[in-house]
């Protein structure tokens, strides 16, 4: 198997020293914070009534990107194709969901 271990240009740049957990812990803290804010916005009615839904949706979207780019190790530089397809999935998904909601 090792004979097959090929490294392409992208991987050669990666740092051989293992990444630290600090980034992930920070990201996790942020997620918990965003979740708390979302729950608070709904339960405590601190946000103006009409703005609650867009507000919590934005928070959810931020969380998705946190997951994608920290936990799931997606990064734009090395995985351009992956990022393109994931974004396409999100866009088409959003269109489907909104269309079904509005037109269905």
């Amino acid at each position: 198997m090792e004979t097959e271990v090929q490294q392409n240009q992208a991987q050669q740049e990666t740092d051989p020293t293992p990444e630290s957990a600090v980034k992930h812990l920070l990201s996790f803290a942020l997620m918990i914070g965003l979740t708390l804010v979302a729950f608070a916005a709904v339960m405590l009615e601190v946000v103006p009534a009409g703005m609650v839904i867009p507000f919590i949706l934005v928070l959810a979207v931020i969380q998705v990107f946190l997951q994608l780019f920290t936990f799931m190790h997606l990064d734009l530089k090395n995985n351009r194709m992956t990022v393109t397809f994931v974004m396409m999935g999100l866009i088409i998904g959003a269109i489907c969901a909104v269309a079904l909601f509005v037109l269905g």
Partner: protein, 208 residues
């Protein structure tokens, strides 16, 4: 014909990023990302269906009466934490530290099971209140969306559980490491879907 290829991968030779080291593992990870893309659209369609039908309660309890936010919040924190633990497991792979990998993935499985237990309990509660799969269009759409997510959680913990067995039998090598990496991607995806479920289903259901 030709001889079977012998497997020589041992812990000592594990490269820093096993998920990118061979063509096979790169294919696996990329293919899995595509699957995630497809699943995103699948869930989006179920979300759309739910949104279109959520007000058709046919006299049953409405979203506002039904949902219990404290329980949802608990489930959310459990699942978010499990997402962190699975990424810590992946860091273990990158450090070639099998103990760390085992520990964090076991925690992930346990948290996943706890989440699933909460969800099943929640469903029982709802059925008790007259909100069932067949009681209304709302009921059907709700259980289909949340249930599909639940079945993903179930599949995820079973999968990681199987991989943990493989891990203890064969050690951390070029075969098990990419599998675990992919499983953790799956787990994060399940988490991402839940972020939308608690936002779109539960919180928006409370806003009305």
């Amino acid at each position: 014909m030709s001889a079977q290829v012998e497997h020589k991968g041992t812990q000592a030779h594990l490269p820093p990023h096993p998920e990118k080291a061979t063509m096979e593992s790169r294919n696996k990870v990329l293919g899995f990302w595509f699957l995630i893309g497809a699943e995103t659209v699948l869930f989006a369609c179920l979300f759309g269906t739910y949104l279109a039908l959520k007000d058709s309660t046919m006299g049953g309890p409405s979203t506002e009466e039904l949902y219990q936010i404290p329980m949802v919040a608990l489930a959310t924190f459990i699942l978010l934490t499990s997402s962190l633990t699975s990424v810590l497991g992946v860091l273990g792979i990158h450090r070639n530290n099998i103990k760390q990998v085992k520990l964090w993935f076991w925690v992930t499985v346990v948290l996943g099971a706890a989440f699933l237990g909460l969800e099943i309990y929640e469903f029982f509660e709802y059925v008790h209140e007259g909100h069932t799969f067949t009681s209304s269009a709302f009921g059907s759409a709700f259980y289909t969306l949340v249930g599909t997510h639940g079945s993903h959680v179930l599949f995820g913990i079973t999968w990681i559980f199987c991989l943990l067995i493989q891990l203890s039998r064969r050690g951390l090598n070029m075969e098990t490491a990419p599998k675990l990496y992919v499983a953790s991607l799956y787990w994060h995806f399940v988490d991402v879907v839940w972020v939308f479920i608690f936002t779109v289903v539960y919180l928006m259901g409370k806003v009305g």
